[in-house]
């Protein structure tokens, strides 16, 4: 590899090896090496950062501003922590409409209010026309881990149960549809939402909640592979248990894309002790963003990520590589 490719940012296995080889090996410290969505620092502080480059900037169900807040709030939440303060940095291309920035900032304020976080610092840069694509936003955030919680991607054990908090692939397909002019009936909206309130309620189960991960780029499939790899376990999921909207299913079938690879921005994958699985499911279902939550599988010791199909056969779950490309015919 002598040039960076789009696939290196696609959230799949190419991005994972790129990050490990280029960044982790060099930056190399005990906090970064946790390889979690957010770093757990001394004093139970949790810290994370994320950049947002979505195209189109306004998409069905949200925009880059809401995404920038929810993404970082959710990354902090995925350690079981309560998000408190965020930063917001803007890189804006010359010529970008000021009215659009005002709309984006309005969405950021609404999302921050909903999540109960404050944007306390920031930065603005304007770059020459054609040296960026409209607007890029970076947000960083800090939060505090409650007592009794230890959520980590390394916690999975055979017998634990895997739950997903709602329908899979809504954000990825809504954005792809908006970009490519696909119409859905009823319209398909992004699920972009802050999940911290749901996580806060889940954390009442304390260390029974073992792993939380938001399946953004790379989708649920990539998260399952990350869990299997980092916890050194296998995972078996069941196709008939996966919550997926019919519109997403048919668009995937038309384009030859696996919905398990599509990005989600308002869903989480939770690994929980089996004795608490139904309680966790109930907590999720009571939350407005968790109504379609479902138990989708269980951890095993196979070392593989497999799916039992609706036909009763078993196969490996396809791990995403990088850029999602539609099939030809």
């Amino acid at each position: 590899m002598d040039k960076v490719l789009m696939s290196h940012g696609g959230g799949g296995s190419m991005m994972q090896s790129f990050i490990s080889e280029i960044f982790i090996e060099k930056f190399n410290n005990e906090y970064l090496n946790q390889m979690e969505d957010a770093a757990l620092l001394p004093g139970k502080t949790v810290f994370t950062t994320d950049s947002f480059v979505v195209k189109p900037v306004f998409f069905p169900g949200g925009d880059i501003g809401r995404l920038a807040i929810c993404g970082t709030v959710n990354d902090i939440s995925m350690r079981g922590a309560k998000p408190l303060f965020l930063s917001a940095s803007f890189i804006i291309e010359e010529g970008f409409p000021v009215d659009d920035i005002k709309k984006i900032v309005g969405s950021m304020v609404d999302a921050a209010n909903e999540a109960g976080v404050q944007i306390v610092t920031g930065d603005t840069k304007v770059v020459e026309k054609n040296s960026a694509d409209g607007i890029f936003i970076n947000t960083a955030g800090i939060g505090i881990l409650p007592d009794g919680a230890y959520v980590s991607i390394k916690n999975g054990k055979p017998g634990d149960v895997v739950i997903v908090s709602g329908t899979i692939g809504d954000h990825g397909m809504a954005v792809m549809g908006a970009r490519e002019g696909l119409d859905f009936d009823p319209p398909l909206l992004s699920d972009v939402s802050p999940l911290n309130k749901m996580v806060e309620k889940l954390m009442a189960l304390r260390d029974a909640v073992k792993i939380l991960r938001d399946p953004t780029r790379g989708g649920v499939a990539e998260v399952l592979y990350e869990i299997a790899g980092m916890s050194n376990v296998g995972i078996k999921i069941h196709e008939d248990k996966l919550p997926v909207k019919e519109s997403v299913k048919s668009a995937c079938s038309m384009l030859g894309i696996d919905y398990l690879h599509l990005a989600n921005e308002g869903k989480l994958v939770c690994v929980v002790d089996k004795d608490f699985a139904y309680k966790a499911l109930e907590i999720m279902k009571e939350d407005k963003y968790g109504k379609d939550a479902a138990i989708i599988g269980e951890i095993d010791d196979s070392g593989l990520v497999t799916i039992e199909t609706v036909y009763g056969t078993n196969r490996i779950v396809d791990r995403p590589i990088g850029e999602l490309l539609p099939r030809i015919c």
């Binding site: 490719l5 030859g256 199909t309 609706v310 030809i328 015919c329």
Partner: protein, 350 residues
């Protein structure tokens, strides 16, 4: 769902003679569906489903990829379908060319590529036309529309291939296939009568199949039922008619004419490709940019995609499979393409 599968299993058992039976699926989407639904686990061991040359990316010859890459380096905008961007040529791929700053864009439909050309009159947009009868009519439509609207900055590098001659080449070359799962999407355009030669000349039957697990299993049942008295039948009746889509056929015929074509793995097959008719020659990128294909296909050492495409070996019998060749670092096109049989075997752990 399980009930339908059980019924299919019972029917397969009823018509199964126990002898070794090879059924070839010639469509990449069938290949993926078979692996994705784990259908080989349902079939008895003597019935083998083997993959044929129906993945458009896989059969695109390497020198055609090289020619597309060279076109990208001339400063034109390359418009292409899906995963063709990842297929390695001799030294590079369209994906790598894009990273070097060449203008390579993925479109979901050729009509979007034409729209892009119309919205960007200062750019020369070349659509890389690959695929079979499924995609050919929509590419023909862009050429006709560009002609009517006098669009000057759009053209097509025509690498299209047609299915029947390739099937015949396989059969003539002595494959021991007892039945074909015929491509559903292609047949929606062509109809099913184009396959009658398989029965008439070679006494081999086939079934035009849909893409759900139950479609494929029922098509296998139909093939087994007719083994002694082969027929061409349509299982995918909800989409495919015997006469096909006559409007799309006329459109194809108006814009394209038959030519010879080189298939990766199968070599040159007479009359199995298309070229743009003289009337539309200003939209023929090969003429417009005087494309010279590099000398024919120096296939990558050790890669046995050609034998996989002919059904001679299964992907796992290739020495590179899963070692030097994986979806992350594909050596050959059967591992690159989302419809490739090696990718299907690898991704779904078969």
């Amino acid at each position: 769902m399980q009930g339908i599968i059980n019924t299919a299993k019972e029917l397969i058992d009823r018509y199964n003679t126990g002898e070794s039976i090879k059924i070839m699926e010639v469509c990449g989407s069938h290949t993926m569906a078979i692996s994705k639904y784990g259908l080989r686990q349902i079939l008895p061991p003597n019935i083998k489903l083997i993959s044929g040359p129906g993945c458009p990316v896989c059969v695109t010859a390497q020198n055609e990829i090289d020619a597309s890459i060279s076109l990208a380096s001339q400063g034109v905008t390359i418009a292409t379908f899906g995963d063709l961007v990842r297929v390695p040529g001799n030294d590079s791929s369209l994906q790598e060319e894009r990273a070097k700053g060449r203008d390579v864009r993925v479109f979901y439909s050729p009509l979007d590529a034409l729209d892009y050309a119309m919205a960007n009159p200062s750019k020369e947009v070349v659509f890389i036309g690959i695929g079979f009868e499924t995609t050919i009519p929509s590419v023909a439509m862009t050429i006709k529309e560009a002609y009517t609207k006098k669009i000057k900055n759009y053209s097509v590098y025509c690498l299209h291939k047609t299915m029947p001659k390739a099937l015949e080449a396989l059969v003539v070359n002595g494959s021991d296939i007892q039945g074909f799962l015929l491509p559903g999407h292609v047949s929606a355009i062509t109809g099913s009568t184009i396959y009658n030669f398989l029965v008439d000349r070679y006494n081999i039957g086939g079934v035009v199949s849909g893409f759900e697990a139950t479609d494929i299993l029922m098509s296998v049942v139909m093939i087994l039922k007719n083994l002694k008295d082969p027929k061409i039948e349509i299982q995918y009746k909800r989409v495919v008619k015997e006469e096909g889509n006559t409007y799309a056929q006329r459109l194809m015929d108006e814009v394209f004419e038959e030519s010879d074509a080189e298939w990766r793995g199968l070599g040159m097959i007479e009359g199995s490709g298309l070229r743009i008719r003289d009337k539309y020659s200003e939209y023929d990128a090969e003429k417009k940019f005087k494309i010279k294909k590099p000398n024919s296909s120096t296939e990558i050492k050790g890669c046995r995609c050609g034998d996989v495409l002919k059904g001679i070996i299964t992907p796992k019998q290739c020495p590179l499979f899963g070692k030097a060749c994986t979806p992350l670092n594909p050596v050959g096109p059967c591992m690159v393409s989302s419809e490739g049989s090696c990718a299907a075997y690898y991704k779904y752990g078969e």
